[in-house]
Amino acid sequence: MSQSSIDLPPKGGFSFDLCKRNDMLTQKGLKAPSFLKTGTTIVGLIFKDGVILGADTRATEGPIVADKNCEKIHYMAPNIYCCGAGTAADTEAVTDMVSSQLRLHRYQTGQDSRVITALTLLKKHLFGYQGHVSAALVLGGVDITGPHLHTIYPHGSTDTLPFATMGSGSLAAMSVFEAKYKEGLTRDEGIKLVAEAICSGIFNDLGSGSNVDICVITKGHKEYLRNYMEPNPRTYVSSKGYSFTKKTEVLLTKITPLSERVEIVEVAGEAMEE
């Protein structure tokens, strides 16, 4: 019995070996299994009293709309929310994970979570996975140090901005922000601008669509406006409703209790041992 190589103890951390294999296979022509990407337009802006986040609600699987009304604004802490673009599983998992970490940290410290804490936890995680966790996030919240808005890229870099957009519809939304954003917007002006930017993404980007979700965070208070705007209603809905003729014919209904069919045998012996 000979061993061709010495088995090294596992060093821990992510093993990138399979990533190389996957790249090699795709080059050879194998189609990778597709995953649910969110397409997406997500935005955030800082206004006079805090932060407003916005997102569309379409989740795509290649060219198909998999979910017409998904939630892209994820809860991180009572005063911090995070919009996610990229692979839906990655954004959900990473925001859930950091949300739990923040909760445990709150129990330890006895203080409200800070946005920069969430930012550091997210960027450390994403950098460690070297971009393979495909999550592009817009993180916003109001903590004791004031309102904060950050963007986080899949490779782990972050930016701190007064207004930000991410996702496939980011260019369409950014054009609205660059034209109309100014400092010191009121709550209503801010919501109107965010809705306009998301609508720009919804109507001009194929990967974004359906409804507009908005989340307004101010000091000590937050408002999650799910489906704030629904600019894509179903146009033709039959008032009669839909009925489908029964195709399967029932031939016979008979119920046989199983104990008649099965013989139960008691084995006299010792009790089960492991």
Binding site: K123, G131, Y153, P154, H155, S157, T158, L161, S168, A179
Partner: protein, 233 residues
Amino acid sequence: MDLNLDAPHSMGTTIIGVTYNGGVVLGADSRTSTGMYVANRASDKITQLTDNVYVCRSGSAADSQVVSDYVRYFLHQHTIQLGQPATVKVAANLIRMLAYNNKNMLQTGLIVGGWDKYEGGKIYGIPLGGTVVEQPFAIGGSGSSYLYGFFDQAWKEDMTKEEAEQLVVKAVSLAIARDGASGGVVRTVIINSEGVTRNFYPGDKLQLWHEELEPQNSLLDILNAAGPEPMAM
């Protein structure tokens, strides 16, 4: 036009560090690009490591942010253990250890600059690969290609603070004019025995170079501005 929004966030960049008699001046542009899209047009590439040492970052945004975060943490510990402010040489060396030992995985070029009481103002360049070179001036980033000749001609020993800053602003502005991956505003940080001064030069206030046009008022600004005064009798 290839607009790959999934491309890694890189800082095209022009970064500069220059010594003068009494301290150093660090300068950088403010453009961060993802493929052909400008992800952040007002980023701050000059990051603080300690009260007296700053670093200019270029290359991969994620890699440079993580390296400077680690070095800030190490320097903080070092300052506590030493009992006095860290020297620029130590900061440069810590960056070099990370950059050299992880050279296969990192893609970031850095310029460390600061002032300490032993050596005065010092600039250290740490390009890809992890060499550390102490220089009277250092340039880095994609826009630096256009500045080698300019610095050979324009740099001189023992400049004053104002001369040094003007040189840095002029240089970054020239690089922005020629390099597509650099743009936005020019940020400078002056570090000397008295402390640290941050300055900011918006893109439209910079000097115009060959064939550059005057900045026009955007039609949006004109439309959004107040209408003409109503006629008065």
